[in-house]
Amino acid sequence: MTPCPPLEAIDKRFRGLYDESTTTLRILREMEALFVKKLLAPLVGDAPLVTVIGLCKNAGKTTALRRLMGELEGECLGLTSVGRDGEATDLVTGTEKPDLYIRQGDLFATARGMMGLCDVTLEVAGLTGVMTPLGEVAIFRALSDGYIQLAGPSAAGQLPPLRERFADLGAGRVLIDGAAGRKSLAGAGVEGTAILCTGASLERDMEQVVAETAHICRLFAVKRPEAPRLQTALDGCEDRFALFGPDGDRWDLPLDETGAPRWNKLPRDRCVLWAAGGITDPFLKTLARRGAPLTLVTADATHVLAGRTVLDGFLRTGGTLSVRRELSIAAVGANPWSAYGWHFEQQRFLDALRQALPVPVVDVKKED
């Protein structure tokens, strides 16, 4: 049973409703909404930042974001996106319907070129210095409810300063419309938690979709190395590649002229390799081919771009994967409908995901 919401929440919600147009029916509906089961809000808890990422197009990313925004009403939200999807051209010409409806008081960061597509009453609250093809990203405060279009910074490194600006301006929580597509989980690399959206558009075969989603969840569950000295050594590491002993002693790492390690010179004993960049298929294959145990440490889960078969190959040869910064997935949203004409049986899909995944799976379309 859903517990009764605190009185101040009720008060907040009803303030402003008492005018001549308010009907008993609407008040009742409002009461009803308060007791509606919240799906995503309890799962993200009090995480100060939530990124919604999609494994593919049409995974229900926007639906999940809208749902979360609805469930978090009463909070002052700061909204932005990681870049802009492929639909940008259509959006620039204004042919597509704006997609996010926000509440008065919310903050959002979007490119200046998007201003004309936002129909809330705008207050310009600041500029970020982040340039995009659609102009500099500016921070706005919504002085009314209404539709907005997001086109935020495209580099993950530009998100943390933006998050601070949001906090300075009074946002209680920041929501990021992350990228869609397996190759770019960017945006989820900032601290906080993520909602991962998956769906039938990813693959025709349901088993494949479940396996791929499980792979991403497994990456996000990767932990920091345990040895405290190793943790300290890794936190201070600014090199592209570095080699450590299991306890955190820095070992010599021979590099070739391109700055990449000379793989055949790596010690055969268990060692810890730090790689700052993206972990690709060829990179993991090279490590697996050595056939010697090795712990690979990457900045965070979003840096692993390699596919699951290659990662499995690496793990089978005695390799382990570790991260410098742990990330988490609060929930997985599933859309059984694909954009390409096929769909999965809804309950079977949810059940399969629930069985395979260690995190809660929700159907964001579900009304209650």
Binding site: R26, E136, A138, S144, D145
Partner: protein, 475 residues
């Protein structure tokens, strides 16, 4: 005079300018385009140098707080000159209005900080309170901008109605929502039109202050540049140059900062130079690698810095003003326009001499005519020294040719390879030479022969012994 990129690069001026640290976009723009003070602009130049002096006292003041209040504002400015370059009938968008407000609010803070300091001569900020009041009618000076209801009497009722509708939409069921949203859409279009009207009116109002905006941006840029010039002088122990009354030039304890920095990287020290130049041509001779070209470049750099209103890299500096300052280096890189190094030298010299009657000029020549056969080259160099002696100019020429200094007004010689040392054969050849070299410029009598040091320099540079032997037998 036009400060070409080639001249700036060759003299090292560009290197100095790149080391400036202005804090505002206006200061950066000002630093990119140095102002040239020619003869007749002595008072303006003195004012500029007074101001740099003034800025230097600000940087070295015991209490840094008043200056910090000013410098804190500088990085906050955005360059809005692009926005202001418009037809007043073309309305600013909301972000542009925000930027203008942000500029004006920061300007107020800057003006307040500036008023607490002794002002720079000739630098005043034009107050723009009236313009700011346009953007902030409630005078709250908050760092945000929106088209508030006070701008148009139609806005408040419209927004109130819209807000009521939006509250209804929040609680509406799926069947009544589309109709409510459509009603809201109509209201947003009306709101947009009213906002556009307001923006158009604001734009016309603000554009009346265009000249004040631009003049303040110019002033901020100048102020920022003065602070950057002073900081450069402070970091590099530069000295304020004095305008020479008799047209002679005296640089004592002269350094070239770019060479000095390169040496410092290798752990070596720059030997400072003393140079006194009068009218006509002064000739510098001396051993290879003895720093002749460096002294030439240092002299040109000092002259350029002085005439751009900068302090000079020396212990004392007394400099005149010239209409034109030229540096002709022997090396012609790519892009010489189909000319050989000799051809290019002659071409550049010819261009300069054609302008000789336009006023007093300064000319520095590095081993002029070295690219042709020695006999003709020496004759041409001698002829040039004689010719320059008859012109209204000051010239400095390095050469390896004998007899060139005979006709010169003065003659300097690099002290040269004076020290005999042994036992450092395995060391870097550059350091071996540096260890033996006395880089000081010494006054020499006219006609004193050029030193014959090529053999020793080659030996110190570890030239192939077989070749060295042939070289020695031939001498």
């Amino acid at each position: 005079m036009e400060l070409t990129l080639e001249l700036r690069e060759n003299a090292g001026l560009q290197w100095v300018l790149d080391g400036l640290t202005p804090m505002s976009p206006f200061g950066r723009a000002a630093a990119r385009t140095p102002v040239w003070y020619g003869p007749g602009e002595e008072i303006a130049l003195e004012t500029e140098l007074d101001n740099v002096d003034r800025a230097l006292t600000l940087w070295t003041a015991k209490d840094p707080a008043p200056l910090r209040k000013l410098t804190r504002c500088l990085p906050l400015f955005h360059d809005l000159r692009g926005s202001l370059d418009r037809d007043p009938d073309n309305p600013f968008d909301l972000v542009e209005l925000f930027e203008l407000k942000h500029f004006l609010v920061t300007l107020e803070q800057l003006a307040e900080a500036y008023s607490a300091l002794t002002p720079f001569a000739g630098l005043t900020l034009v107050p723009m309170e009236a313009a700011l009041d346009l953007l902030d009618p409630e005078r709250r000076r908050l760092p945000a901008f929106s088209v508030s209801n006070s701008y148009h009497e139609g806005l408040a009722p419209l927004r109130e109605e819209k807000s009521r509708l939006e509250r209804e939409i929040r609680t509406a069921g799926p069947e009544e929502k589309p109709a409510l949203l459509e009603r809201r859409r109509v209201l947003t279009v009306q709101e947009d039109q009213l906002e556009l009207e307001v923006r158009a009116k604001l734009t016309r109002g603000l554009m009346q202050y265009q000249a004040e905006f631009l003049s303040n941006m110019e002033t901020i840029g100048h102020m920022d540049l003065l602070l950057a010039k002073a900081r450069l002088a402070q970091r590099n122990h530069c000295v304020r140059p004095v305008l020479s009354a008799d047209g002679t030039l005296a640089l004592h304890g002269l350094r070239h900062p770019q060479v000095e920095a390169e040496l410092a990287k290798r752990g070596d020290e720059f030997t400072s130079l003393d140079l006194d130049l009068g009218s006509g041509c002064t000739v510098i001779t001396g051993a290879n690698m003895g720093g002749k070209t460096v002294s030439l470049r240092a002299a040109v750099l000092s002259q350029l810095l002085f005439q751009c209103g900068y302090f000079v890299f020396a212990e004392t500096a007394r400099l005149p003003l010239f209409e034109n300052v030229a540096l002709i280096l022997a090396d012609s890189g790519p892009g010489a326009g189909g000319l050989s190094s000799f051809g290019r030298e002659v071409y550049l010299l010819d261009g300069l001499l054609r302008q000789a009657n336009e006023g007093r000029f300064f000319l520095a020549l590095d081993e002029f005519a070295r690219g042709t056969n020695p006999q003709e080259g020496a004759a041409l160099a001698r002829a040039l020294v004689r010719h320059l002696g008859g012109l209204d100019c000051m010239a400095l020429m390095t050469t390896h040719y004998d007899g060139v200094s005979d006709a010169a007004g003065a003659h300097y010689q690099v002290a040269g390879l004076v020290r005999e040392l042994n036992g450092d054969e395995s060391d870097d050849p550059r350091r071996r030479i540096a260890r033996r070299m006395d880089y000081r410029l010494l006054s020499a009598p006219p006609g004193a022969p050029c030193p014959r040091d090529a053999l020793r320099v080659c030996r110190l540079l570890n030239l192939d012994p077989a070749l060295m032997e042939l070289f020695q037998t031939d001498l």
